[in-house]
């Protein structure tokens, strides 16, 4: 378990492995550009993401980022531009798992696609950006990592070049993404103007000299929130999500709605805990920024869940449900001003991990349905359980877990989030509203999630179907996601402890 003899930059190995795999895929493609050997390309991509996962888990187990004599402590790289701590490794693990699941599933989904190697290398480049985002510790590296995630994602959404839906989705995703990154970088410039620094810890120490430019700083923070709201698909920059998720190839929807969202949130956690500590920032700008997140959290979860309840298209319903879940996780930021806020943030991180499994799984089931060509609406899914009982059982697990029905993982993470919010509410009563909104929205979400389960298991099919194929890769990914959603149950205690510890280390 010794990592002591490794050079310091190796701490970024989980991200570097992803980048290296993307380059290997480019190399393979340039040796034989016409090759559509999808097993080779998907295999390399899966291998790369699994090795990234293994290294991240190994670092966590070996104690990188943990304090104590036998551990290695937080690793600072390049003059504090990157930081590898428990928070970074935790999110690198989530991202690597989702990437592995998505690349396994893509093997079957893209069976007739011409550009195989490009597809996988774009996925891995986007994953590299997300991993880097988890470790970024300066607004410069954050912005570069953000763009490294966004640019391949735009191309991936529009990768079905002759499919009108895919191109339209790519266009809308690109337009809103370009707008929000312009707003984000303008916010960065204002924060730099007020504090004279872009490194997160330096920003925090320079906050007190920003006195006369408090207005600029406040505006800058608001614009940073805008950029983060885009990445996490939260109100007011959520418009792209339903369109992009519906039009994109389903594995890409899974990738964006799970990994990209998690990366957006780690950025928010990092920036707002390190650079803008609540008390010091409130003194300068005169407003408590957690208030913005209280409003955003309530609006986001309500908009997401109410819109999801009215959808007829399954993929669109999942897209709105993913907006709703972003609202739940925003509670982690809204609670930071209260005592015990770091525990709420840890619970939100735990929810992101579980969400990574169950939401990826749900979108991959949609990918399976698209592979079969059964159609897109709830009615088209009627009675699928007769032909594919295993996949439908897994889908039922995902749906009940997303709704928060015990005993699945989604219930435990929501329960943890709820109890921690209630505890923190002793200090700040506005959190009671958030806890109530969480419960009401979860209850509402059970309606549309169980509607899909009813369609799969109870309704009779409208049309007679032929026997459905059983693609190995897609099945393997879906079953793996389902197993992970259920297995979280016994492992929940230690993983939740790790999340809470990582959150506490950042806030302190």
């Amino acid at each position: 378990m010794a990592v002591l003899e490794l050079p310091e930059w190796m701490a970024l190995a989980p991200a570097l492995l992803l980048a290296g795999t993307a380059l290997v895929l480019f190399l393979l493609d340039s040796i034989n550009p016409r090759s559509t050997n999808r097993t080779l390309f998907a295999g390399v991509a899966v291998l790369g993401s699994l090795s990234s996962l293994a290294v991240a888990v190994w670092f966590t187990a070996a104690g990188v980022g943990a304090t104590g004599i036998e551990n290695y402590g937080v690793i600072d790289l390049m003059g504090g531009q990157f930081i590898v701590d428990q928070l970074a490794l935790y999110f690198m693990i989530i991202i690597a798992i989702v990437t592995a699941l998505v690349t396994v599933a893509s093997h079957d989904y893209l069976r007739d696609h011409t550009y195989q190697a490009e597809y996988y290398s774009l996925i891995l480049l986007a994953a590299t950006g997300m991993s880097m985002m988890a470790a970024s510790n300066s607004l410069v590296t954050i912005f570069i990592a953000l763009e490294l995630t966004s640019l391949p994602s735009y191309a991936l959404v529009a990768i079905l070049k002759d499919n009108r839906g895919s191109v339209e989705a790519g266009l809308k995703y690109f337009l809103i993404g370009a707008l929000s990154s312009a707003i984000f970088v303008y916010g960065v410039s204002l924060v730099y103007g007020a504090t004279g620094s872009l490194q997160l810890e330096d920003i925090a120490t320079n906050l007190d000299v920003a006195g006369e430019m408090g207005g600029l700083l406040g505006l800058g923070i608001l614009m940073l929130i805008g950029g983060i709201a885009f990445k996490t698909a939260s109100v007011p920059f959520h418009f792209w999500a339903p369109e992009a998720y519906e039009g994109a190839p389903a594995p890409i929807s899974a990738f964006l709605s799970s990994a990209s969202k998690a990366a957006g949130f780690v950025l928010a956690f990092r920036v707002f805990t390190t650079a803008f500590p609540v008390a010091a920032t409130t003194e300068v700008i005169g407003v408590d920024w957690t208030l913005a997140f209280v409003i955003l959290a309530i609006v986001t979860m309500t908009v997401g869940n109410f819109a999801a309840a009215t959808q007829e298209n399954v993929k669109r319903m999942l897209a709105y449900s993913s907006i709703g879940h972003a609202g739940y996780v925003l509670i982690g930021l809204a609670a930071l001003s209260a005592e015990g806020g770091e525990l709420v943030m840890g619970a939100a991180m735990m929810h992101l991990l579980v969400y990574g499994f169950m939401n990826t799984g749900a979108f991959l089931f949609v990918a399976l349905a698209e592979y079969w060509g059964v159609g897109r609406t709830f009615e088209d899914y009627n009675g699928l359980s007769k032909q594919a009982p295993f996949a439908c059982a897994a889908m039922a697990v995902f749906m009940f877990s997303l709704a928060g029905v015990p005993p699945f993982g989604g219930f435990w993470s929501k329960y943890l989030l709820y109890t921690q919010t209630i505890n923190a509410a002793a200090d700040n009563t506005i959190l009671l509203v958030l806890a109530a909104a969480l419960v009401v929205n979860s209850a509402l979400s059970l309606y549309y999630y169980s509607r899909l389960v009813k369609a799969l298991w109870i309704e009779e099919p409208i049309l007679e179907r032929d026997r459905l194929a059983q693609p190995t890769g897609l099945y393997a990914a879906i079953i793996a996601a389902a197993v992970l959603t259920v297995v979280v149950l016994p492992a929940f205690g230690p993983v939740a402890d790790a999340a809470l510890e990582a959150a506490a280390a950042v806030v302190a």
Binding site: L139, V140, F143, I144, E147, L151, Y154, A155, A158, K161, D162, R164, G165, V167, E168, A169, G170, L171, K172, F174, L175, A178, L179, S181, A182, I183, V185, Y186, V188, S189, L190, Y192, G193, G196, S197, L198, L216, P242, E243, E246, G247, A307, R316
Partner: protein, 101 residues
């Protein structure tokens, strides 16, 4: 003679607002892209003016990165606009409506 930093901020805010106005009113995807470029360059003005004001080079360096990233973004954007034109025979962003809320 030096110009006070607040005039640079006013200039950059004007450029940013012009860009934002363009984004909100233009229907041509290419003009949309140009408007976004204006917004990004407004940030660059700020970064360089503030780098001068604070007397460190961080802002100037970041402005270089921003320019490179803006170029990369335009490359991807033009690619998407090209496939948009191939599929819809138009670059009007309000034409593609195969999906509805």
């Amino acid at each position: 003679m030096t110009v006070d930093v607040q005039y640079y901020v006013l200039l950059s805010m004007a450029v940013f607002c012009i860009g934002l106005f363009g984004v909100l009113t233009r229907r041509n995807a290419l003009l949309f892209l140009m408007s976004v470029e204006l917004m990004l360059n407004a940030a660059n003005i700020n970064l360089i003016a503030f780098a001068f004001y604070h007397g460190n080079l961080t802002g100037q360096l970041f402005a270089l990165f921003t320019m490179a990233l803006a170029a990369a973004e335009v490359a991807v954007g033009l690619g998407i606009i090209l496939v948009l034109y191939r599929n819809f025979r138009d670059v009007d962003v309000t034409v593609p409506t195969t999906m509805r809320w």
